[in-house]
C-alpha cells in the first residue's frame, strides 16, 4: 500500500526539505567565508524528489544517495550534525575527516558512502540486496540516486542490467537536472526521454515532474511498493533543474534563461510551500516559524562542530586494513 501524502507526512517531508535547503544555504555561506576545505555541492531544486526517495525507504533498506541528496539523507536518518561534521572536517563526523562534503554515509545503517566515480554505487546497492535475499530477509528495498549525466557511465548500465537479471527491489532514481556540470543533455544522450531506457533493460519506468512534491511522493511510493512486492527494478526519472552551480565554485552561467523560465526551472520549495498552505491548511506564520527554528538549530550545530576542531594527524591511525596484523607501517617503507 502506498503511503499517502497527508497532513502529517507532508509536514515531515517539507521539514526535511526545509532543513536541507537551509543547510545548503549555510554551507554556501561557510564556503564563501573560507570555512570549508575543498568543494561544496548543493541540492537546490532537487529537495522534493530527494525527500520522496528518503521517505519511501524504511529502516533496514539500502540507500545510496548522491551529490544532491541532502533532503533524502535527512529523511533516511542522517543528522544535521553528521552532515556538518563531514562538511567542516570534524574528526567526530561519520568519515572522521578522512572524506568530506557529500562523500559520507553510514553503511552499517544502510546509508552507503558514495565514492566519486559516477554510477559506481548502483551495483553496490544491488549486492546488498542480493545479500539480503540470500540471508532470507524480505520486504526490503534499495534506492540508488544519480544524475542524468551518470546514465552515460558503463557502471550505470552494468548495474541496471544486473538488477534486472536478478530482479532486485531496486529504485534507480535519475534526477535529470538538465546539466552534467556544464554539459547539456544533448551531449549526454540521444533518446527522447530517459525513461525510454527502461524497456531495454526489462524494467518498469516512472517519469515524474521533479519540481512537484506531490508527484514525486506518489511516484516514489508506488515505485517502492512495486519493488517491495517483487516486480523488480524501477527506473524513476525526474525532470527538474539544478538551481545552483555544479558546485559553489561554479556560477552556472551556461544555464540558459529559457531553461530557467521553463517548467523544470520552478523551485520545488516554493511549490511545496504553496501546497502546504493552500491544500493542507498550514499557515504562512507556521512555515515562517519552522524556518526560523530550523535556521537556529543549524546555527547551533555549526557552533558545536566548529568547536570540535580538526583531526590530529599525529594521533590519527593510518591503517588501511581491517586486519590489524597485516598493516605494514603506513608509509610502506621499511625503515
Amino acid at each position: 500500500m502506498n503511503q499517502e501524502l497527508n497532513r502529517e507526512t507532508i509536514e515531515q517531508a517539507y521539514r526535511y526539505m526545509l532543513t536541507a535547503r537551509k543547510l545548503d544555504e549555510r554551507l554556501a555561506q561557510l564556503y564563501r567565508a573560507g570555512d570549508i576545505f575543498g568543494g561544496v555541492f548543493l541540492g537546490k531544486g532537487q529537495e522534493a524528489l530527494s525527500v520522496s526517495v528518503g521517505m519511501a525507504l524504511r529502516k533496514g533498506d539500502i540507500y545510496a544517495p548522491l551529490i544532491r541528496d541532502g533532503a533524502g539523507r535527512l529523511a533516511f536518518g542522517e543528522t544535521v550534525l553528521d552532515a556538518l561534521r563531514n562538511c567542516l572536517g570534524s574528526p567526530l563526523g561519520p568519515m572522521r575527516a578522512r572524506d568530506g562534503n557529500v562523500h559520507r554515509g553510514r553503511p552499517r545503517e544502510g546509508c552507503m558512502a558514495m565514492i566519486s566515480h559516477l554510477g559506481a554505487s548502483i551495483s553496490v546497492v544491488n549486492g546488498a540486496l542480493m545479500a539480503k535475499r540470500m540471508k532470507g530477509e524480505s520486504g526490503f528495498m534499495g534506492a540508488a540516486c544519480i544524475g542524468e549525466g551518470a546514465t552515460s557511465t558503463g557502471a550505470f548500465h552494468e548495474a541496471l542490467n544486473q538488477a534486472a537479471i536478478e530482479k532486485l527491489p531496486l529504485l534507480l532514481v535519475v534526477a535529470n537536472n538538465q546539466y552534467a556540470y556544464s554539459t547539456p543533455t544533448t551531449m549526454q544522450f540521444a533518446c527522447k526521454k530517459l525513461t525510454d531506457k527502461a524497456v531495454g533493460y526489462g524494467v518498469t519506468a516512472h517519469e515524474v515532474d521533479g519540481t512537484d512534491l506531490e508527484s514525486c511522493w506518489n511516484t516514489l511510493q508506488s515505485a517502492a511498493r512495486k519493488a517491495r512486492e517483487g516486480e523488480g527494478p524501477q527506473l524513476i526519472v525526474a525532470e527538474l533543474l539544478r538551481l545552483c552551480g555544479h558546485g559553489e565554485h561554479d556560477d552556472a552561467h551556461y544555464v540558459t534563461d529559457d531553461m530557467k523560465q521553463s517548467n523544470v526551472g520552478k523551485d520545488c520549495m516554493e511549490l511545496a510551500r504553496t501546497l502546504m498552505t493552500s491544500q493542507h491548511g498550514f499557515s504562512d506564520q507556521e512555515l515562517q516559524e519552522w524556518e526560523t527554528s530550523t535556521q537556529k538549530d543549524i546555527n547551533h550545530s555549526i557552533s558545536i562542530v566548529k568547536q570540535e576542531g580538526g583531526p590530529d594527524p599525529y594521533t590519527h591511525s593510518w591503517n588501511p586494513l581491517a586486519t590489524r596484523e597485516l598493516n605494514e607501517q603506513a608509509n610502506g617503507i621499511a625503515k
Partner: protein
C-alpha cells in the same frame, strides 16, 4: 590420491561454502558449467543458490560484492581471466579498497584472478596484474605457488576482513600436483623458504617459484646453493624473512613473471637496500618478463618470460659480481 592446484582451489571453495553460510561465488559461467577452468565444478549443484552466473559485467560483479560484504556476506568473485579485471578495476581499487578506511566497515571480498602465461595465451589471456592492485592501499594480494597454498590461502583470504586479490596461476592449474590437502599452513603475509642455500637468495612467487627451484637444482650440481624465498603474499611483503635470507647469503636476485616497471621485484629490492644495504655483497638484480605485451607464439613467449635457463644465467652473473 593426488590433487592439482586447480582442484585445490575448487576444494577450498567447497570447504568455504560448506562451513560458512556467508560465502557465495559469483562470476561468468561459474554455475552449472563450473567455470571456464572448472574451478567451481559441481559447486552450484552442491550449494544451490550460492554459486551464481554473472553477466559479462565485471564492474557490476565487483561492485555488488562490496554491497554484499557490507551486508555481512563473504563473496568470492571469479573473473574469467585476470586480464579482464581491468574493466572492473575501479570497483576494486576505489570502492572495495577504501571502504574500511573511510567508513570502518570491513570489506571481506575475494577476487579470484586466473593469472599468468600459458602456451598460446597471447596478450590478453596471460597477464600478471598483482602489482597494479598492490599499488593501491587497502588491498591484500596473494600469489600462491603451491597446491597447498592455493588451498589454504584461498580459505584464509575469504576469512580475512579485507578485500583480497587472489592471483592464481593458470600455468599451475593442471601442471602442479600434491599428494593431499594441507592440515596446517603459514598465514597470509608470511613468506616461505622454498629451498635453503647459502650462496645467494632468490625472491620469487607464483609460477616462477618452480622455475627458480629448477634453476637452483641445476646450479646445485655445480655446488652452488641457492636459497629460494617464495613470497606467497606480495602485499603485504614479508620483508623480515627476505632480509634474514639476504643476511645469510649476501646476494639477491628477484624473479617475477610480470612486467618489470614498478613491480614486486622493484618493491622487494627497494626494501632490501633500505634495510639491509650492508648485508649485500653484490648489487641486487631482477628478472621479469620483457616490457612488451605478452606474445602469442610459444617460441616468442618462451623468451618473453623468465625461465629456469634465464634464471641460471642471471644467477651466474650475480655470483660473479
Amino acid at each position: 590420491m593426488s590433487i592439482t592446484y586447480l582442484e585445490a582451489i575448487r576444494e577450498a571453495q567447497a570447504y568455504l561454502l560448506k562451513n560458512d553460510p556467508r560465502v557465495y561465488i559469483y562470476g561468468q559461467d561459474v554455475g552449472a558449467f563450473g567455470g571456464a577452468f572448472k574451478a567451481t565444478k559441481n559447486l552450484a549443484t552442491e550449494f544451490p543458490g550460492r554459486v551464481i552466473d554473472a553477466p559479462i559485467s565485471e564492474d557490476a560483479m565487483i561492485g555488488s560484492a562490496v554491497g554484499a560484504a557490507i551486508e555481512g556476506l563473504r563473496p568470492i568473485i571469479e573473473v574469467q581471466f585476470a586480464d579482464f579485471s581491468t574493466v572492473g578495476f575501479n570497483q576494486m581499487v576505489n570502492q572495495a579498497a577504501t571502504l574500511f578506511w573511510r567508513t570502518e566497515v570491513p570489506c571481506p571480498i575475494t577476487l579470484r584472478l586466473p593469472s599468468g602465461g600459458t602456451s598460446g595465451g597471447g596478450p590478453f589471456h596471460s597477464q600478471c596484474l598483482e602489482s597494479i592492485y598492490a599499488h593501491f592501499p587497502g588491498l591484500i594480494v596473494c600469489t600462491p605457488a603451491t597446491v597447498e597454498d592455493a588451498y589454504s590461502m584461498l580459505i584464509e583470504s575469504v576469512t580475512l576482513d579485507d578485500p583480497v586479490v587472489f592471483c592464481e596461476h593458470k600455468y599451475l592449474y593442471f601442471h602442479l600436483k600434491a599428494k593431499s590437502l594441507p592440515q596446517e599452513a603459514l598465514p597470509i603475509g608470511k613468506a616461505r623458504i622454498a629451498r635453503e642455500g647459502r650462496d645467494m637468495t632468490i625472491v620469487t612467487y607464483s609460477a616462477m617459484v618452480h622455475e627458480c627451484l629448477e634453476a637452483a637444482k641445476e646450479m646445485a650440481q655445480d655446488g652452488i646453493q641457492i636459497e629460494v624465498v617464495d613470497l606467497r603474499t606480495v602485499k603485504p611483503i614479508d620483508t623480515d624473512t627476505i632480509i634474514a635470507s639476504v643476511a645469510r647469503t649476501g646476494r639477491l636476485l628477484c624473479v617475477a613473471e610480470e612486467w618489470p616497471w614498478g613491480g614486486v621485484n622493484a618493491e622487494v629490492i627497494s626494501r632490501v637496500v633500505a634495510e639491509g644495504f650492508n648485508l649485500l655483497d653484490a648489487p641486487p638484480q631482477r628478472i621479469n618478463a620483457k616490457d612488451t605485451p605478452i606474445p602469442y607464439h610459444p617460441r616468442l613467449w618462451s623468451v618473453h618470460r623468465p625461465t629456469a635457463q634465464s634464471i641460471i644465467a642471471a644467477s651466474r652473473h650475480l655470483l660473479r659480481i
